[in-house]
Symmetry: C2
Subunit: 207 residues, 2 copies
Amino acid sequence: MAEQTTPRKSRPRPNSDGRREQIVSAALRVMISEGVYHATTRKIAEAAGVNVATLHYHFHDKEEIILSVMAVLASNYRGRLDERFSAPQTLHDRIADLLGFIWQEIESAPGEQLVLQEMTLYVLRVPQAAHLAADKEREIKQLYAECLGRSSDVSAADAPRIAELSNFIYACFVGILNQWLATRDTALLLKTTSQLVTAARSLWPAT
Amino acid sequence: MAEQTTPRKSRPRPNSDGRREQIVSAALRVMISEGVYHATTRKIAEAAGVNVATLHYHFHDKEEIILSVMAVLASNYRGRLDERFSAPQTLHDRIADLLGFIWQEIESAPGEQLVLQEMTLYVLRVPQAAHLAADKEREIKQLYAECLGRSSDVSAADAPRIAELSNFIYACFVGILNQWLATRDTALLLKTTSQLVTAARSLWPAT
DNA sequence: ATATGATTTGGTCAATTGATTGGATCACCT
DNA sequence: AGGTGATCCAATCAATTGACCAAATCATAT
């Protein structure tokens, strides 16, 4: 089995560098165009330009590929959210900015969002992977909480209430996203999102 | 092909009454325990106690069975929501009551809710059935709007704003439901739902 | 250059899948 | 009783799928 995290080790190896990433990337492309459940090993291999057996050389089985795609999606999202929101801002403004950023993420890659939703339901049916759904929830909520918690007018003592607010925003926006995936009604999404901004602000009475 | 809507016609038939319902019900049971994507014709036939070929006698193909299950789920939901909310009530109270009712629906049949979510994503990958996802959205929103619109302190002229409010409540609660399906954290769902009640009320300033 | 181990490949297997066929069975009519 | 059409079933087909194997290929160390 190949190592994926450390690109170079003491023992030299033939050039399989980045092959896992290449396969995972191809798998994501297939999933975007055909859906998680129709992403077969053959389609993935073809999209990656490698033989089907090569998939099983770098990955134990198909499920490991799927879960790797999920990890990559989550990691990408985390990265993009992290490298933003450095300038000081009031909570009031930051709530609107955060939701605007999330919408921008969706608009720029709607296929990935649909895959992410499919993936969530997928892991719920795999007993040994079901915890990944809850893990993803917790992680994203944590990111939102950090983002909102660093607002200029929020103190560290507000952390618990910020966590509650972040959870509310996250949970509700997932629903708005689901609605958009089903209807592709962008005007409606923007309208509902602005309602969510208003509602979220109303949940934060000044201390 | 058998007729499903009219149980009795002028021309008499052998005893296949209710066979479609029997098969659809078995399909739903399989989907609840194994997921929409793992509901094979053989498992459905076994659960229904009939031969696999009988499935194709009553249904054109497997997809027709799946879509029938979706129709049944939506119809059941519509029915249960409709036969409630007859007593007069203020909008303030009705918002909380509606969300309480929805949670009760989920709690009493969580498996069906997961299937419904899977079904929504399923139809989005079937071009000729993708419109069903948007249809479902519109229908449920319509139900919520009717429910809230019949509040004692709401006039017919408020219809557009009631529609907006209903959409907000529906969209957000779908997100809360998704979170609960992933985490099964009931305490969190109740907390977030009460936040949604507060937020929704704040979106309705008295005219 | 040759050996060595990592990597890739074509070919293949066993299992599962949705769907079909032809005949058997049933209820009802004359 | 015999006919008729609807209904059901055992058996099977063709396609797809995930996984595996033995041989070929490649990169590097010696």
